[in-house]
C-alpha cells in the first residue's frame, strides 16, 4: 500500500519545463508581447532578451496560474508562471529570439530559440483611396480604419497556392487554400468547393492557428482553410480554383454619444470571388521503361520471407516492401511470379504513410504480402521483380534490382496431401525453345521417293522376282513329275519285257526258265514300283508295302500267292502247261491290279 502511494507520488511529480510561446508575426510600429512560460517550477524572472529591430517597452510582467484536479481520487496539480516582455517593432525583418536560461530548484532550464517576422506597414493605396472617397484603406487590428462601407477586393480574399510551380505527373504537390482578411470574421460558409480536376487529392490536417502575413503590400490576418496533397494525373497546365465563400465580417461604426464617441461593431455579408492558380505539369519522359507502373518519387525495395524454413502445406508470407517518398499510396501491386509447386493466394496490400518535408510530400511503406503454401518438396527460387520508378529530382527512371529469394521446402509433418500421389500435368503456356539449327540435314529442294523412278522400279523388281520364282518352281515340279513317270513307265515296260521272257519260255514249254524269269520279273517290278531296295526285298516287307500302297488284303494275298507258286514251282519240275498258263495269267492280273491302284 505504501509502495503504491509512492508510485503515485512519483507519477504526480512533474518535471519543470521552460518554453517560449511562439510569437506571431507583427506589423511594423505595433507593440507586441513576448511570453516565456515556466511550468511546474519556481524561478526568478529572467532578464529581458535583446531583439533586433525592437525596443523593449516593459517587462517582465509575471502572471501565475495554478490548477488542481481530482479525478477518481487522483490528485493532479499543475502550475505555470508566465514572464511577458512588451516590445515595439521598429524595423521590418526577421527577428531571432535567443534562448533564455532560468534556474529552478537547482536545475538550469533553457527555452528554445525561435524567430518571427516584423512585417512592413501597409503601403498607401492610390486606388483604394479614390474608391472609398478618400477614406484610408482598412488595416488590421485597427478598428478606426475598419469603417463600414464597401469592401475592396483587397480586403478579403481566398487564395490557392502551390508548393511548387512545376511538377511531373504523379509527383505530389501541396495546394494550400488560405483566407486573407483585414477585418475580423464572424462566420465563414463555403458555397462552392474548390475543384481539382485532373488530380488525385488527399486532405492534410490543418491547424486552427491564424497568423499575420504581408501580401501585395498589405498586412492580413491569414488562416489556412484547406491543405491538400495533389497528385497530378495528366500533363499540361492544370488550374485549380479556390471556391466561393459567404463571409460575415465585422466592421466598426463610430457612434457619437454626445459627450464621447465610441465604436460599435457592425456585421456585413461579403461573397469572395474565387481565384485560380495554375500548375504546370510535365509529362513523364518517353520511352517509359518496361515494367514501369507509375511510381514517382524516391523508393527503396526489400523483400522478406517469413518463416524462411518452409514445409509443404504450411503457409509462409513473402513480403515485397517498397519504402520511400512519393506517390506511395498510388503504387500498383508488383507482379511476383511464384514457381510451379508453390500455391500463392491473392496478395494483401498494406500502405502506411506519413507526411514529410514540412507537409509537402508523402512518405511511407507500401507492403504487399503474398501468402504462399508450398505443395512440393525441393529447392525453388522466387524471382525478384525489379521496381522501376521515376525520380523527379533527377528527371530519370531508376531501377531497383530486387534479389531473387532461394527457398527450400521440406516435407511438412502430418500432411496427407503431401504423400498423396498426383498426376504429372503440364500446360502449354509458351512455345517450345529453339533446337540447334544444324541438328538436321539441309536441302534446297525436296525430292520424294514416291515421285522418283526408283519407287516403281522397286515394285517391278519384287513382282519380277516372284514371277521368276514361280516359273522356276513350276519347271522343277514338272521335272520331278517326269522322273516318277519315267520310273513307273519303266517298271511297266521292264515287267512286260520280263513277262515277255516268261511268255517266250512258256510258249517254248521250258517251264523251269518260265518260273525263273516270272519270279525275277515280278520281284523286279515290285522293287521298282514300291521303290524298295534289293536288300529289303523280302516277302513280309513287300506285303506291308503293298497294303500301304493301296492294295486290298485279297489282292496282296494274290500277289504273294503268285510269288510263292513261282518259288515252289522252281523246286517241283513236273508242272503242266495249264498250270504255267494259269500262273502267267495271274501274274499279268497282279501287275494290272497294281497299275490300277496307281491309276486311281
Amino acid at each position: 500500500m505504501l509502495l503504491m502511494l509512492g508510485v503515485i507520488a512519483l507519477a504526480a511529480a512533474q518535471q519543470p519545463s521552460f518554453s517560449l510561446i511562439q510569437p506571431r508575426n507583427v506589423v511594423q510600429g505595433r507593440n507586441f508581447a513576448l511570453t516565456f512560460r515556466l511550468s511546474d517550477g519556481d524561478a526568478n524572472p529572467p532578464a529581458a532578451p535583446q531583439l533586433k529591430g525592437c525596443t523593449l517597452l516593459f517587462g517582465p510582467a509575471v502572471s501565475t496560474m495554478s490548477s488542481t484536479q481530482i479525478v477518481n481520487g487522483r490528485i493532479t496539480s499543475s502550475s505555470s508562471v508566465d514572464f511577458s516582455f512588451t516590445y515595439r517593432a521598429d524595423e521590418p525583418g526577421t527577428v531571432d529570439v535567443p534562448e533564455l536560461t532560468v534556474s529552478s530548484e537547482g536545475k538550469t532550464l533553457k527555452s528554445r530559440p525561435a524567430s518571427f517576422q516584423i512585417l512592413p506597414s501597409d503601403e498607401p493605396r492610390q486606388s483604394g483611396g479614390s474608391q472609398n472617397g478618400g477614406r484610408p484603406s482598412a488595416s488590421i487590428d485597427d478598428p478606426s480604419t475598419q469603417t463600414p462601407g464597401r469592401i475592396s477586393s483587397d480586403d478579403l480574399l481566398v487564395r490557392v497556392s502551390f508548393s511548387k510551380s512545376s511538377v511531373y505527373e504523379q509527383e505530389p504537390v501541396v495546394a494550400t487554400i488560405k483566407v486573407y482578411t483585414k477585418y475580423d470574421i464572424s462566420s465563414f460558409m463555403p458555397t462552392a468547393q474548390p475543384a481539382f480536376d485532373g488530380f488525385l487529392c488527399e486532405e492534410l490536417p490543418v491547424s486552427n492557428e491564424t497568423s499575420i502575413e504581408h501580401y501585395n503590400g498589405s498586412n492580413y490576418h491569414t488562416a489556412v482553410l484547406k491543405k491538400l496533397l495533389l497528385y497530378p494525373q495528366k500533363a499540361g497546365q492544370l488550374s485549380v480554383n479556390s471556391g466561393k465563400y459567404d463571409v460575415s465580417i465585422v466592421q466598426y461604426e463610430t457612434v457619437n454619444m454626445g459627450f464621447f464617441r465610441t465604436q460599435r461593431p457592425v456585421e456585413k455579408q461579403v461573397t469572395t470571388s474565387s481565384n485560380a492558380a495554375t500548375l504546370s505539369v510535365k509529362a513523364l519522359p518517353e520511352p517509359r521503361p518496361a515494367g514501369f507502373n507509375g511510381a514517382v518519387g524516391q523508393f527503396s525495395v526489400s523483400t522478406s520471407l517469413e518463416p524462411e524454413l518452409m514445409r509443404t502445406n504450411e503457409a509462409s508470407v513473402y513480403s515485397y516492401i517498397v519504402k520511400g517518398t512519393g506517390n506511395i499510396k498510388y503504387l500498383s501491386e508488383p507482379s511476383v511470379q511464384f514457381p510451379v509447386g508453390i500455391d500463392a493466394y491473392t496478395p494483401k496490400t498494406d500502405i502506411k504513410t506519413n507526411l514529410v518535408g514540412g507537409g509537402t510530400n508523402m512518405s511511407g511503406i507500401y507492403r504487399t504480402d503474398y501468402t504462399i503454401v508450398p505443395q512440393e518438396v525441393g529447392a525453388f527460387t522466387i524471382e525478384g521483380v525489379p521496381f522501376i520508378y521515376f525520380d523527379p529530382s533527377t528527371g530519370k527512371y531508376e531501377t531497383v534490382d530486387v534479389a531473387s529469394t532461394p527457398i527450400k521446402v521440406l516435407r511438412g509433418t502430418g500432411s496427407a496431401a503431401a504423400t498423396e500421389q498426383r498426376e504429372i500435368e503440364g500446360s502449354i503456356n509458351d512455345i517450345l525453345h529453339i533446337r540447334p539449327s544444324d541438328s538436321q540435314p539441309r536441302s534446297h529442294s525436296m525430292s520424294y521417293v514416291l515421285r522418283s523412278a526408283v519407287y516403281p522400279v522397286a515394285y517391278a523388281v519384287v513382282i519380277l522376282a516372284l514371277l521368276v520364282v514361280v516359273v522356276v518352281y513350276r519347271r522343277h515340279i514338272r521335272l520331278q513329275a517326269d522322273v516318277t513317270g519315267r520310273k513307273l513307265a519303266k517298271a511297266g515296260r521292264v515287267a512286260n519285257k520280263r513277262l515277255r521272257d516268261a511268255r517266250a519260255a512258256m510258249n517254248a514249254h521250258e517251264n523251269d526258265r518260265f518260273y525263273a524269269s516270272l519270279a525275277k520279273a515280278l520281284w523286279g517290278y515290285l522293287s521298282d514300283k514300291l521303290q524298295i531296295s534289293a536288300s529289303q526285298l523280302v516277302r513280309d516287307n513287300v506285303a506291308e508295302k503293298l497294303l500301304a500302297y493301296g492294295l486290298t488284303q485279297e489282292q496282296t494275298d494274290n500277289v504273294l500267292e503268285v510269288l510263292d507258286r513261282c518259288e515252289m514251282a522252281r523246286f517241283t519240275p513236273q508242272t503242266s502247261d495249264d498250270e504255267v498258263a494259269e500262273i502267267y495269267r495271274r501274274a499279268t492280273a497282279v501287275i494290272k491290279n497294281i497299275e490300277d491302284v496307281r491309276r486311281k
Partner: protein, 261 residues
C-alpha cells in the same frame, strides 16, 4: 534388307551434309535468338534458309523468332512450312497449335473422326517413310502370295490367301497415305494471311460498297487458294486470289496480304 541398305546410304549422306555446314549462319541465328535479339535472328534465319538450304528445325526456329517478335502471321507460316518439310516434327506442331490458339480468327472445325485419324496418321511420318512402309507391306503381300502358290499344306495356303487379302487392303491404304503425304508436302494451294488483317471481297477488286465485303480475316488464318487473277501487264505475279475459307466460303483477297506455305 533393302530398307536397311537405304537407311545406311541416307545416314552417310546425312553426316556429309552436317560436316559441310559447320559454323553457319544458322548458328549465328541461334545465338541471336538466345540473346533475345529476335529481329536479328529472323534476318539470319532467312539468310540461312536462302543460302544453306531449309529444314524443319530451321523453319520452326524462324517461327519462334517471329512469335517472339509478335508477328503471329509469319510465325504460323513458318511452322506450316516446317511441317510441310517434316509432318512428324512434334515441336513445330506443338508450337503451331499454341500460336493458333493466340490468333484472332478461330477456324471452324468440320473434321470427322476418320478424317482426323487419317490426318494424324499422315502427320506421323515423312512422305518417304510412308513410301517405304507401303513398299515393305507390298513385299509382305508378295510373300503371302508365294505362300499360297507354293505351299502343299492347306493351313499355310489358307493363311497365305487371307493374310494376303488383308495385306492388300493395308497396302492400298498405305499407298494412299504415301501419295496424300507427298501431295501435302508439294501442294502450294494453302496460304497464310500475313497482313495484320485483310478484307475479303466478293469480286477481285477493292470493296467499293458494303455489299462487296464478305468478311475480314486476321493474320495467321489459313486459306485455300483456288484461283488467281493477274494484271495484263504482269501475268506472272497474281494480284488477287480466289480463296476458300471455312465450309467452302469463296471470296477474293489481295495477293500481297497472304503468303503461300
Amino acid at each position: 534388307m533393302m530398307m536397311k541398305k537405304f537407311a545406311t546410304i541416307l545416314l552417310a549422306a546425312l553426316s556429309l551434309t552436317v560436316s559441310a555446314s559447320a559454323l553457319s549462319t544458322a548458328q549465328l541465328a541461334d545465338s541471336a535468338y538466345n540473346k533475345q535479339n529476335y529481329r536479328e535472328a529472323i534476318e539470319l534465319y532467312q539468310q540461312s534458309i536462302a543460302t544453306e538450304g531449309k529444314s524443319a528445325v530451321l523453319y520452326t526456329n524462324l517461327g519462334n523468332a517471329y512469335f517472339r517478335n509478335d508477328n503471329l502471321g509469319r510465325a504460323v507460316l513458318s511452322y506450316e512450312r516446317a511441317l510441310k518439310l517434316d509432318p512428324s516434327d512434334g515441336d513445330a506442331r506443338q508450337n503451331l497449335a499454341f500460336v493458333r490458339s493466340r490468333i484472332q480468327d478461330r477456324p471452324e472445325d468440320d473434321s470427322s473422326f476418320f478424317s482426323n485419324m487419317h490426318r494424324s496418321v499422315v502427320a506421323s511420318a515423312r512422305p518417304d517413310t510412308w513410301a517405304w512402309i507401303a513398299f515393305g507391306v507390298f513385299v509382305l503381300l508378295v510373300g503371302a502370295a508365294a505362300l499360297y502358290i507354293f505351299s502343299q499344306n492347306v493351313a499355310l495356303r489358307k493363311t497365305g490367301f487371307f493374310g494376303g487379302l488383308v495385306l492388300l487392303f493395308v497396302f492400298a491404304y498405305l499407298l494412299f497415305v504415301a501419295f496424300d503425304s507427298v501431295d501435302r508436302a508439294t501442294g502450294t494451294s494453302s496460304a497464310i494471311v500475313t497482313a495484320p488483317s485483310t478484307q475479303l471481297t466478293s469480286a477481285p477488286r477493292g470493296a467499293g460498297s458494303d455489299s462487296d465485303k464478305v468478311v475480314t480475316i486476321h493474320e495467321g488464318t489459313k486459306v485455300e487458294i483456288i484461283d488467281s487473277v493477274a494484271t495484263p501487264d504482269d501475268p506472272v505475279s497474281p494480284v488477287w486470289y480466289n480463296v476458300n475459307i471455312n465450309h467452302g466460303t469463296k471470296a477474293w483477297l489481295r495477293a500481297t496480304d497472304v503468303e503461300r506455305i
